[in-house]
């Protein structure tokens, strides 16, 4: 199928024409050309003959049993009878809900989110409290609520819209927080559109706040925190509550609140009790964002060049393979940078608020004398527990020391026996 380079149509175009894949104008020209060009006719005939020859690779017909089983599964309601097909791999691009129903995917996603949080870090946010032994509840929503299914765009209405509009961003010299307007345009349709044009963007500031509050009515305050976050358009990222004997209850909540709602949210949170400590910090990430966008733009240009190269190449097969490997690498970089950019924008649009709520603890008087029966029962239980632990301790001791003890006794008893026997024999004689 090699062709003269000067020919009007190359063999690949003839093939695409026969497959019905050539663009209409080019196809019309090629059809007219084929009438008069014997060389092209020969090429076309070669493709047709090859296709016909491939059809000689015949296959058998499925049995009736297959039909019955599939239709039986259909009638059975697609439930129990299809369980054997649960491990069948599914085309991921069109099966996100099915994919995300798999627990392993959730586990991997969770691990990825944790790693991303550790790597990226949240400035000004102190380490989350370690899980207490008496933790009552824990809730974590992570980033999955705002990252789109393909991980390249955001789904919260405020995302990107705020960043795109220079009118929303105050000059860097103003020293104030950027105020975002509610009347922003809807989020862009694609990640490409969303992530462009950083040049006109004002300062991008990641805001964090932390409050320690002593609540007089802990129960109401702990419930109110979640409601307040929801009311201001935010969500609970992590929540730990614990209660220990002799101490009041404590609640630690990591919240994400739209930046424009931060002041109002903090004002409402302060009403929950006495504020013992409050800190706020800002981090400008404009340089990171601009740098990321520049690298993204460059990577996209490289990707485009590689695609064009592959589409028009006439080089060696090895060159094509190398170009395809490079293309895959560049695509991976682009996806990673899109993800980083989305995370950065989310951090700007959603402030992080750490609220540590403590109960104003009052010692409770005892609930009355314990009955004699209860005391006896408790004593019996304690006695049995002591017996059990003593027996276990003795067994542990014997197993730990016993072999060594037997060994040394065996070593020492033999000479002692001889000495004693000799002494005893002399004494008798």
């Amino acid at each position: 199928m090699e062709r003269n380079a000067q020919h009007a149509f190359d063999a690949e175009e003839v093939m695409a024409y026969l497959d019905g894949e050539l663009e209409p104008r080019r196809a019309a020209a090629l059809a007219a050309h084929l009438v008069s060009c014997s060389e092209c006719q020969e090429v076309a005939q070669g493709f047709r003959a090859l296709s016909e020859r491939m059809l000689s690779f015949e296959v058998g017909h499925p049995s009736a049993g297959m039909n019955e089983k599939v239709l039986a599964a259909l009638d059975a309601g697609k439930s129990s009878s299809v369980s054997s097909a649960k491990d069948v791999p599914v085309h991921k691009g069109w099966m996100w809900p099915g994919l995300f129903s798999h627990p392993r995917v959730w586990a991997i996603s969770g691990a990825a989110i944790v790693i991303a949080l550790v790597v990226i870090g949240i400035p000004g946010r102190h380490g989350l409290p370690a899980p207490a032994s008496h933790a009552l509840r824990e809730q974590s929503s992570g980033y999955k609520s705002w990252l789109s299914k393909d991980g390249t765009s955001l789904e919260h209405p405020q995302d990107f819209a705020d960043v795109k509009s220079p009118a929303n961003a105050l000059p860097a010299s103003s020293g104030k927080m950027p105020v975002f307007s509610e009347s922003e345009p809807a989020p862009p349709a694609s990640a490409d559109e969303a992530l462009k044009a950083p040049e006109s963007v004002g300062p991008m500031i990641v805001q964090t706040a932390s409050l320690n509050i002593l609540a007089t009515n802990y129960d109401e305050a702990s419930v109110a925190i979640e409601k307040l976050a929801a009311a201001h358009g935010g969500y609970v990222e992590k929540l730990d509550a614990k209660a220990q004997n002799g101490n009041g209850q404590e609640l630690s909540a990591a919240l994400r609140v739209p930046t424009k709602q931060l002041d109002g949210f903090l004002a409402d949170v302060r009403k929950l009790g006495h504020v013992e400590e409050e800190t706020r910090s800002n981090e400008e990430v404009s340089d990171q964002y601009v740098d990321l966008q520049a690298r993204l733009k460059s990577a996209r240009a490289t990707e485009q060049r590689l695609i064009e190269l592959l589409g028009t190449r006439t080089g060696k097969l090895q060159d094509v393979l190398e170009a395809e490997r490079e293309l895959a690498r560049v695509r991976g970089e682009i996806e990673a940078m899109q993800g980083q950019s989305a995370i950065l924008v989310h951090r700007v649009n959603y402030a992080t608020v750490q609220v540590d709520l403590s109960e104003e603890y009052r010692q409770v008087l005892g609930s009355g004398p314990i009955s004699t029966g209860t005391k006896i029962r408790n004593a019996a239980v304690e006695g049995f527990a002591n017996l059990e632990s003593g027996a276990v301790g003795l067994l542990v001791f014997l197993f730990a020391v016993g072999p060594a003890l037997l060994f040394w006794l065996a070593i020492l008893l033999v000479p002692v026996w001889f000495v004693w026997k000799r002494f005893w024999v002399r004494a008798r004689s």
Binding site: L50, R53, E58, P62, A73, G311
Partner: protein, 175 residues
């Protein structure tokens, strides 16, 4: 006649007949798909059955993002890949094609078919898959690109190379 996309959407709404019609349309092609790739008629039928059960199971989550044929054959390609991994013979697939040609299913194939199968076995796997999707499953370049997640231009150039290579493989036979 309803299109495949219409039928699958109707089935999502609960129309049993829609799936039956889809099954009738694709029962033989899907069975042939597995047969040609696995060279094991019994296993091909099992896989075809598992495949349709998987389709049934996943219909509630189907989203018409591309053509239904791309969706169908995308699942089938994944299934074959999983089967090869499971059998641990992906690497030696090509070498074994020749040997298996003489096994039980030889009776169903004429001499020309055996030569074609042998020639296909010598092609690089990606090129072979593109060529087979085009010739046997009659997928368009765009559908093949969607199934294999490749650019359309790449599909076209690989298909051309695959056809040229197959022609070279079959040439001694022809002569």
């Amino acid at each position: 006649m309803n299109s495949d996309d219409q039928l699958i959407l109707e089935f999502q709404q609960g129309a049993r007949e829609a799936f039956v019609e889809l099954f009738e349309r694709y029962r033989e092609p899907i069975h042939g798909f597995f047969w040609r790739r696995l060279e094991n008629p019994a296993r091909a039928e099992e896989l075809a059955q598992e495949y349709f059960l998987a389709i049934l199971q996943n219909v509630p989550w189907y989203e018409p993002r591309a053509s239904f044929r791309s969706y169908l054959y995308g699942i089938a390609v994944h299934l074959v890949a999983a089967e090869r991994r499971k059998a641990g013979r992906e690497v030696v697939e090509n070498e074994k094609l020749d040997g298996r040609a003489a096994e039980g299913n030889a009776a169903e194939n004429n001499d020309a078919g055996i030569w074609v199968r042998k020639a296909l076995g010598h092609l690089e796997q990606s090129a072979r898959e593109i060529l087979m999707l085009r010739e046997y499953e009659q997928l368009s370049y765009g559908e093949i690109a969607a199934v294999l997640r490749l650019p359309v231009n790449t599909v076209r150039s690989r298909l051309f190379r695959a056809r040229a290579a197959l022609k070279n493989q079959l040439m001694p036979v022809k002569d």
